[in-house]
Symmetry: C2
Subunit: 238 residues, 2 copies
DNA sequence: AAGTGGTCTAGACCACTCT
DNA sequence: GAGTGGTCTAGACCACTTC
């Protein structure tokens, strides 16, 4: 990511945990030792270790040390803010995206409330189905505020919109509120997905915010019941 | 929680945000100012603000300041590691817990793998249904390693097991891996829940770890489709 | 008593935003 | 240029675990 010292240390250590160089259930060097090894202050080491703990790589134990957790726990398919493209690559399965609808529209009441938009804000609508292993199992309905995303094309939608937003437009996605519920299938779901006989569908609603805390995207990701899986790593207290 | 300086500042500020004393979309005092106000160093203020940001209270913007986010976003029903009792209190609805099974047992193959237990580890089994607004909509199947939880009673299971674990046994729950999937209803689900005609059920599997990184509990929380809702707040990158 | 992580300090320099 | 948050330092004291 960035070139911070603590980020570099975080990536070095997380890499060593993933590769097995630092074995699970073993303790890593103490903070004082790491400070010497990396030639930094202890607070900088602590920043890196706090990150490792938050992301499930290690557990810090007072008076004892930091031990390496099972990285097998890191099957984070839908956790955080990963995109479909990253997800499919993680699964390593053949996948395909089909764009069914693409265009600019004036928001209706529903979209105005979801995107906190005014009636004269234009909105990009992108509706895509996702095919994995030959089955269309995810329907993604994305809505972007045009004032945040001036230009979007069907070609971009066929690849990764997020890659475009971050690498070309340099938008900084900062945080998101996610909601998961189960709803009745709609006609649209039946039209675009291989639904078999399922009557319900898992709906993941995402409200995505930029760096400056402005809402710029509302997404509905609609997953066929049997193919949905959400994994999360949560720490108590915070 | 604790009596740390940064924790006290966190709780003071988060309280002021919840109460509306610090208004949403306004900027809070700068870190230097806060350091003077609270009579601490800036790094201590930063720890408190980092916590606020992680929990969705504020957004920090470089060069500008920290602005207060919509706290309406804090409907975190199942997010993190909250227990049913906390959840029901949040919802403010009449709720009831019924214990259907309670006892010690030897683990079968399934439990041995879920709890990383040996064949001679004894395990507490607690099966409870949760009734909200007069409908039995959640089936909780809890399994605790006896070596971590020496004693458990039916009376405790009828109230809050987590309160007992934390306040009486002083176990420190540290982190959990959570998995959400949808599965076919079992006979057990039909027996204990008011399932109406739903053929599927949302299953939340929880693997809960203590302070010293030992796994001590496996839980299946089985929710009726139409009553399930999961809300999460996620930050990008970390 | 020695070693560990947890907290806190008083400074410093940087990149960024706003004027 | 002034103010902001982001990073980093070199120390200090504490509570905890282990011996």
């Amino acid at each position: 990511m960035k070139t911070n010292k603590f980020m570099a240390i975080y990536q070095d250590l997380s890499g060593k945990i993933k590769s097995g160089e630092l074995q699970r259930n073993s303790t890593i060097p103490s903070e004082h030792e790491l400070a010497e090894i990396y030639g930094t202050s202890r607070e900088t080491i602590r920043k890196a270790l706090t990150l490792l703990a938050q992301n499930g790589f290690i557990q810090k134990i007072k008076g004892k040390g930091s031990i390496v957790l099972d990285v097998e726990k890191l099957n984070f398919p839908v956790s955080g803010l990963v995109s479909f493209k990253e997800l499919a690559q993680n699964l390593g399965k053949p996948s395909r995206t089909t764009v069914h609808k693409f265009g600019l529209l004036q928001p209706d009441r529903f979209l105005m409330s979801q995107l906190q938009a005014g009636s004269k804000d234009e909105i990009w609508e992108v509706i895509r189905s996702r095919e994995i292993d030959g089955e269309k199992i995810i329907l993604d309905k994305d809505y972007f505020l045009k004032k945040s995303v001036p230009l979007l094309t069907k070609e971009i939608a066929e690849n990764s919109i997020y890659e475009y937003l971050e690498k070309t437009l340099h938008l900084k996605i900062s945080f998101a509120k996610k909601e998961i519920v189960v709803e009745d299938c709609t006609e649209e779901d039946k039209l675009y997905l291989d639904l078999e006989n399922f009557q319900h569908i898992v709906v993941v609603r995402n409200y995505v915010y930029l760096d400056d805390a402005t809402l710029f995207e509302y997404t509905e990701s609609r997953h066929r019941l049997d193919k949905f899986r959400f994994v999360d790593f949560a720490r108590r207290g915070h």
